[in-house]
């Protein structure tokens, strides 16, 4: 288990979180390399199908980063993301997948340090949970 | 050496018959086995209670309306709500309409071809198409038309005929209007004539044919058992509601109980060679694979119901009821008489559908009563194939905590096994296992119109049960326990 390296797929919104990740990069902040970032225009763009597919194809965790409520570039996208991800977490638990493996964080463009903290924290948490067990033929 | 009939045909569901022959080519033993299982009682746990009418109807697409209303009645009990009288009538109207379809389907499509084209007819002709060839296109079209009428009645009231949606705790989802009511009335009138014609056909083709009559009366196709069915307050057959009545092999009343007390009257057991469970009367006990007064094996479905009752509630059906018992004696233990009883029920269902379609309340819009708090409840109906019981326990959010379903054909499973065994012993000798003879063995189960999708919804499982019975002042008057 100690050499288990979690694979975490991250969907970061272009306007806030992705910019923050850039800032973390230009500020030379070091953080866990387990996060694979995919840029989307808004956290509200993240279709639950993306998350499920990520889990089905090998991700041990999925992180979604968006603007703080009230600050969405498209006004209301993150409100939908909030409701959507909460519902998806419930359904994931029904599928036997721990809800901690799906995480939604509000990270604004200036919060490079928060990107670092969340990445490290989530990597550690997933490492403790272990690799995602996918349901095979026998459950 | 082993001869297998695989799969059995002209029924709902999966099954196989395995016959062991000794060196002389005579039957050592015959086993009727059910190889399927889907697990409804397990995966319904955690589901919304009000989804059960639509979930459980997928146990069987031939008799979905039976499950739909057993479930709906169970929900009424769980939510402690009495549907408005008009809703009750509308449910019963749809229920009887579905019997028109189901019993017509069985006689002409499933079991009847054996008589109409003959049990030894070539395989390719022993089916509805062979029947149409034999009776001619005119009559064939009448058969198709009336089966469709039964479906249409369900579709009008329930949205869909297969897997309807109208049953809710406390009532029905929508009313019917005058145009729809009138359409149902006309269909019911036609169905009555069609049922009478079918009974006449049975008389001409079957009863007046010596070979068939001998088959019916033969020991090969006879089983002396207890009989069970729902009856109204006059002990007449009722499909939608009533008390459970059991008569013994001599025709005397053995017990008469409320549906919710069924669980105290029946036990079940397992065998290693079949997935279906095997119920029997607790008060008599399991005495092995035999029939008779000492054995707890009982039968449900048309013959079971008619034997367990004292008549039919509508006039034309009652005449036919009397005729059958005058011809065959009372009670009737001849398995093939299930076909006759089924046609009598087709006539009753048609008459009852007409009665209800003319009820002044049937187009009422007052179809919903407000449910109370969710709890535990039992719903009992007579499916076409026999007594059907749904028993649910809902949690405080109305989700299913546990469900137990005791299904019509399961009740008949031991009798079916015995009937097949007897038929094999009676018919197969000296290695003669022709297609026609094997088909005659299948006729032994077809008479029951079994529904093995129903019978194998789940693995055996019962839940500890405690039913608290309160009177109208909410005083606890009785606790019925089973654990």
């Amino acid at each position: 288990m100690s050499d288990f390296e979690p694979k975490i797929v991250a969907f970061f919104c272009n306007w806030c979180t992705y910019t923050a990740a850039d800032l973390a990069g230009t500020s030379r902040m070091k953080y866990a390399p387990n996060i694979r970032v995919i840029r989307v225009m808004c956290s509200g763009r993240v279709d639950p199908q993306f998350v499920l597919e990520a889990f089905a194809k090998g991700a041990d965790g999925v992180l979604i980063g968006g603007c703080h409520p009230g600050d969405c570039h498209y006004q209301r996208g993150n409100y939908k993301a909030r409701r959507r991800i909460l519902m998806l977490q419930r359904v994931l638990e029904e599928f036997g997948i721990e809800k901690e493996r799906l995480r939604l964080e509000w990270i604004s463009a200036s919060e490079g340090d928060k990107v670092r903290k969340v990445a490290n924290d989530m990597t550690e948490q997933i490492a403790r949970l272990g690799p995602l067990r996918r349901g095979d033929e026998h459950g | 050496m082993k001869v297998s009939i695989d799969p059995i045909s002209r029924l709902e569901g999966h099954g196989r018959i395995d016959i062991f022959l000794d060196e002389k080519g005579d039957v050592e033993n015959a086993y009727f086995r059910v190889p399927e299982l889907r697990g409804f009682e397990k995966f319904c746990m955690g589901r919304l209670g009000e989804e059960m009418p639509q979930l459980t109807s997928r146990i069987c697409g031939v008799c979905p309306i039976a499950h739909h209303f057993a479930a709906t009645k169970a929900l009424d009990a769980c939510y402690d709500v009495e549907p408005p009288r008009a809703a009750r009538k509308l449910r019963e109207l749809m229920y009887n309409g579905s019997f028109i379809y189901d019993h017509t389907l069985h006689f002409y499509f499933l079991g009847g071809p054996d008589f109409i084209v003959g049990p030894h007819a070539p395989k390719a002709e022993r089916n509805i198409l062979g029947v149409i060839n034999k009776v001619g296109l005119e009559i064939g079209k009448e058969v198709i038309k009336h089966r469709a009428y039964g479906q249409r009645i369900a579709e009008i009231i329930g949205g869909k005929s297969t897997h309807p949606v109208c049953g809710i705790p406390g009532g029905m989802s929508k009313p019917i209007n005058e145009e729809e009511r009138s359409e149902i009335e006309k269909m019911a009138e036609s169905a009555i004539n069609f049922a009478r014609f079918s009974l006449k056909t049975f008389e001409d083709i079957v009863l007046k044919n010596k070979e068939y009559l001998d088959m019916i009366l033969s020991d090969t196709y006879k089983l002396t058992t207890y009989n069970m069915g729902l009856v109204d307050e006059n002990n007449k057959v009722n499909f939608y509601d009533g008390k459970i009545r059991v008569s013994d092999p001599e025709g005397k009343e053995f017990l008469k109980i409320e549906g919710k007390d069924y669980l105290g009257a029946v036990e079940e057991r397992m065998e290693e060679w079949t997935y279906v469970k095997l119920p029997y009367l607790k008060g008599v006990g399991w005495k092995g694979w035999k029939d008779g007064k000492e054995s707890g094996i009982f039968r449900v479905g048309p013959l079971g119901r008619l034997n367990a009752s004292e008549g039919m509630a509508t006039p034309l059906a009652q005449e036919e009821f009397k005729k059958m018992y005058e011809t065959l004696g009372r009670p009737v233990h001849n398995t093939l008489a299930f076909h006759w009883a089924r046609l009598i029920e087709l006539l009753y269902a048609s008459e009852r559908t007409l009665e209800l379609s003319r009820d002044p309340e049937i187009t009422s819009q007052n179809l919903r009563a407000t449910p109370g708090k969710p709890g535990e409840g039992i719903g009992v109906v007579e499916a076409a194939r026999g007594t059907l019981i749904h028993h649910y326990k809902l949690d405080e959010r109305g989700l299913v905590e546990r469900a137990n379903l005791i299904v019509a054909t399961t009740n008949n499973a031991p009798a079916i096994c015995l009937s097949v065994k007897k038929a094999a012993f009676g018919l197969i000798k000296n290695n003669n296992v022709s297609d026609g003879l094997l088909n005659m063995i299948e006729m032994a189960f077809r008479a029951y119109d079994p529904c093995f999708g129903c019978a194998t919804h789940s693995l055996p499982g019962q839940m500890p049960l405690e039913v608290k019975i309160h009177d109208s002042h909410k005083r606890l008057i009785r606790i019925v326990k089973r654990d």
């Binding site: 639950p48 199908q49 209301r76 409701r83 959507r84 909460l86 419930r90 359904v91 599928f95 036997g96 997948i97 349901g135 026998h138 459950g139 | 695989d6 799969p7 045909s9 002209r10 029924l11 395995d18 062991f20 050592e28 033993n29 086993y31 399927e36 299982l37 697990g39 397990k42 995966f43 589901r47 919304l48 989804e51 639509q54 997928r58 697409g61 499933l110 395989k123 390719a124 089916n127 198409l129 198709i144 038309k145 949205g159 869909k160 297969t162 897997h163 949606v165 705790p169 406390g170 929508k174 397992m270 065998e271 060679w273 079949t274 449910p371 529904c451 693995l459 055996p460 499982g461 019962q462």
Partner: protein
């Protein structure tokens, strides 16, 4: 048409309820037209042909096989392979063969989970259980092995076409039979039916989605003219393929999703989750606290059963991971 030219049809049921069989019988008089151009060579509900008759057929003897029911046992899978070999065209007919169907809900458990219920039974001979191979005095009797996981037909064999619905609606059945009889079949792998969501076909008035709270189907009295989802009743219409004629909605009950997803969607449940959460408590969403959002979502009863009622085996995750 001479005998040699008649199409050879077969229809088989795996883990099925028989409703799909009935949907064909519900062709009523049209069945007489069908048999002018086709013969049924295997159809256990209505005809006496046995497995041995199918085994004796040359490969690709059957022109079109309508296979309904999910794959839940070794027998179901065995016959799926057998019929694939013997058929030119194999159609996954109905929700169970296409999506897994309601029996697919058993993917929240496995065989052991179902068997555990058995040990708590009060059957009088509790230690006797069905066996795959049982010894009786005369010899041995075999039963099929039940699988832990329910599968759709395409998850075990190559499938040519899919017919949606539970059961397929009359319009869809007719379209399928017409396509088969005329030989004018769509590209391989197609679903026979229109491609948009049910809302397209639904006759109800659709205005603004301002749902403040969800209602259970027996709560209140649904207005018969307005969109059910707008009234707070959970209707799967937005995530469900159109083509059935909306019979459930016409009976004043919401759609439960039996036709499966529309084109280009892999996970119907995910789509409905997305659609519902987009519009639930839309009014004043900017003022709702995190806590109250959480509460609203937590109170939603049984998302699994509602969103994945017919499609769990073919959803992205397919089944629950058992501990």
């Amino acid at each position: 048409m001479s005998m040699a030219e008649k199409l050879k049809l077969a229809m088989y049921w795996a883990a099925s309820c028989g409703g799909c069989e009935i949907s064909i019988v519900d062709l009523n008089e049209k069945i007489l037209d069908v048999i002018k151009v086709a013969d049924f060579v295997f159809w256990p509900v209505a005809m006496d042909f046995k497995y041995s008759d199918v085994e004796a057929m040359p490969d690709k003897f059957i022109d079109v096989c309508l296979f309904n029911g999910a794959i839940r046992s070794s027998e179901n899978e065995h016959i799926a392979h057998l019929l694939r070999r013997k058929s030119k065209i194999l159609i996954a007919y109905g929700a169970c063969a296409y999506n897994g169907g309601i029996p697919g809900l058993a993917n929240i458990t496995n065989r052991q989970g179902m068997f555990d219920t058995v040990y708590k039974t009060i059957s009088t001979n509790q230690n006797t259980l069905p066996k795959i191979s049982a010894r009786v005095p005369e010899g041995e009797l075999e039963l099929p092995q039940l699988y832990d996981t329910v599968k759709s037909l395409a998850q075990v064999v190559d499938v040519d076409y899919y017919v949606p619905g539970c059961p397929p609606a009359p319009k869809i059945v007719e379209a399928s039979i017409d396509a088969i009889a005329s030989g004018k079949l769509p590209p391989k792998g197609s679903v026979i039916g229109p491609s948009k969501a049910l809302c397209e076909e639904c006759p109800r008035e659709k205005t603004d989605k301002k749902i403040t709270a969800m209602k259970r189907t027996f709560e209140g009295m649904p207005d018969t003219k307005k969109c059910l989802l707008e009234q707070g009743y959970l209707c799967m219409g937005p995530a469900t393929r159109e083509g059935c004629g909306t019979p459930c909605i016409n009976a004043n009950m919401p759609c439960t999703g039996c036709s499966g997803p529309a084109d280009d969607v892999t996970d119907q449940g995910a789509k409905m989750m997305s659609a519902l959460t987009s519009v639930l408590a839309l009014e004043g969403e900017e003022n709702v606290s995190e806590e109250n959002v959480l509460k609203m979502i937590q109170e939603f009863p049984d998302p699994m059963g509602v969103f994945y009622k017919y499609t769990m085996p073919t959803s992205t995750l397919k089944r629950r991971v058992m501990k």
